[in-house]
């Protein structure tokens, strides 16, 4: 029963995508749009296969930037969330700043970082940290706040210290929330790196897209975009796998529901 339902849940979006791609293919083949403006899906796939060797080096750079930034964002959020949870004053002071920081368009910040830190990896990593940080810390803080107060009181009645309560109850309880934040951040991380590269640099998928766009190779732009999508989905999936491995109990909770 359960398995069937899950499969049909996955089937519906798949059918929809296939349908859209088929329409797209038909539109281009029918000559409604010239190929140099909109290549057909089959063209894109062909170009994708032939350009992968060219893109490989750029893919590795983008991945490196995204993963480094992602990791730094996780460490930052953990430390900050712990401090904000332990000292309410820190939370009061920083929370509004966190929100405000998200209202500044990254498209304005990224060129500044390039100006300050040059064309290397650093400005891209900073962009990735900035876009990943927010979803992670917000989900973490929400998780820490949603802990059953009775559980905390129970541990207090056993004489547990604040650090013990954090480790035994609060942190595990906020894991579910944390992982949903991590999934969002994982997809953002690739996007952040690509934006950074787009705005200045000489390596990475973002840079590659700019270069092929300048030479009007629209099919290559599409192929590179496909790479961005695949990388984001892969990271997303990896996070889910890590979640299932590190929280065996979570699957039981899901099953019960």
């Amino acid at each position: 029963m359960k398995v069937k339902k899950e499969n049909s849940n996955k089937l519906i979006p798949l059918i929809l995508v296939l349908l859209l791609v088929a329409v797209w293919e038909a539109v281009v083949r029918g000559g409604l749009v010239p190929r140099f403006i909109l290549p057909s899906p089959i063209d894109v796939l062909k170009v994708f296969v032939t350009t992968i060797p060219d893109m490989k080096e750029h893919i590795l750079v983008t991945l490196q930037e995204a993963l480094t930034g992602f990791a730094i964002a996780i460490i930052f959020s953990l430390i900050l969330a712990m401090a904000m949870d332990r000292f309410p004053a820190v939370k009061k002071a920083l929370y509004p700043l966190l929100i405000v920081s998200q209202t500044i368009p990254i498209i304005i910040l990224a060129p500044l970082f390039i100006l300050w830190f040059g064309f290397g990896m650093l400005p891209k990593i900073i962009v990735v940290v900035l876009v990943c940080f927010f979803p992670i810390i917000i989900s973490l803080l929400e998780g820490l706040n949603s802990v059953d107060l009775d559980m905390i009181n129970l541990l207090k009645s056993m004489g547990a210290s604040k650090a013990q309560i954090f480790k035994i109850v609060k942190l595990p309880a906020s894991m579910v929330g944390l992982f949903s934040g991590l999934r969002i951040a994982a997809t953002y991380s690739i996007m952040g790196a690509v934006i950074g590269e787009w705005l200045g640099g000489d390596k990475g998928i973002g840079f590659y897209i700019v270069r092929v766009k300048h030479s009007f190779a629209v099919d290559k732009v599409f192929a590179a975009t496909l790479v961005v999508i695949i990388l984001s989905m892969l990271l997303f999936k990896v996070i889910t796998i890590i979640q299932n491995l590190s929280m065996p109990w979570f699957r039981y909770v899901e099953q019960k529901k």
Binding site: D150, L155, S157, M158, W249
Partner: protein, 251 residues
């Protein structure tokens, strides 16, 4: 039926209000060694508040909590406290949930597990050490929570409606299981319940609380002999006590 040489716990003249809401007016009670004492009272009469104060989680406005002759008012970590919910941590295996109080106290994790494992048979949890709480039935979860409570502090246990969430058949099973198990454990138990039959069956004494603000309305000795079994619940004495308690509530 027994004489109690030692007074384990004394609660003296507790008074507590939350803002304008006077919840406890004047509550005094005591608990002797190896005694099982129940508190019955209407919902909202302040029973859990009394437990919160005894366990040290809350300070009373007035009054004292004395354990073995020492003042423990407002101090946590002395008596064990089991909530209405089982409050097992979903991310820990049963064995780790149960040995949690030992780990918090600073015992080595492996030693704590070994110690806890020794009680799994008595508590009807044999073979479920490495399961997660979701894989247990309601009765087993309650027994696991009880074992955790026992391992924290075996001499005084506060149990707040531990069986309220169970179905009637499981609850009845748990009653007789508890009667058998407590004989082996050497514990003094303070027990909150809404269920008059449950209170009579399990207790040596029952305190009846008035509606809010709470005072002790009456203290009733239960002279039913032990060991108690199913037959006890159909005796005349049992029914007389029940009638008496129902009359107190009717007033």
């Amino acid at each position: 039926m027994t004489s109690y040489p030692n007074e384990k716990l004394t609660v003296k003249n507790l008074r507590k209000s939350f803002g304008d809401n006077l919840v406890l007016e004047d509550v005094s009670l005591n608990l002797m060694e190896n005694e099982f004492v129940s508190l019955i009272g209407a919902s909202g009469s302040g029973k859990s508040t009394i437990f919160n104060i005894i366990s040290g989680l809350m300070l009373p406005d007035k009054g004292q909590v004395i354990i073995n002759g020492q003042d423990y008012t407002g101090r946590t970590g002395r008596v064990s406290y089991m909530y209405q919910k089982d409050l097992l941590l979903p991310w820990l295996k049963v064995i780790d949930n149960v040995s949690l109080p030992l780990v918090i106290r600073g015992e080595d994790k492996k030693k704590a597990r070994e110690k806890a494992a020794g009680y799994f048979e008595t508590f009807g949890l044999d073979g479920f050490e490495d399961k997660y709480p979701f894989q247990l039935s309601g009765g087993m979860r309650q027994r696991a929570a009880l074992l955790r409570t026992y391992l924290f502090s075996s001499d005084i246990m506060l149990l707040d409606e531990p069986f309220a969430a169970l179905d009637a058949i499981t609850r009845s099973y748990m009653h007789y299981w508890l009667l058998r198990t407590l004989k082996k454990l050497n514990s003094s138990v303070l027990f909150i319940t809404h269920d008059i039959d449950e209170a009579i069956l399990l207790s040596d004494r029952i305190y009846i609380l008035s509606d809010r603000p709470a005072k002790i309305k009456e203290e009733i000795e239960i002279p039913l002999s032990r060991p108690r079994n199913k037959e006890v619940t159909t005796t005349e004495l049992f029914n007389d006590i029940k009638k008496h308690i129902l009359e107190i509530f009717a007033n």
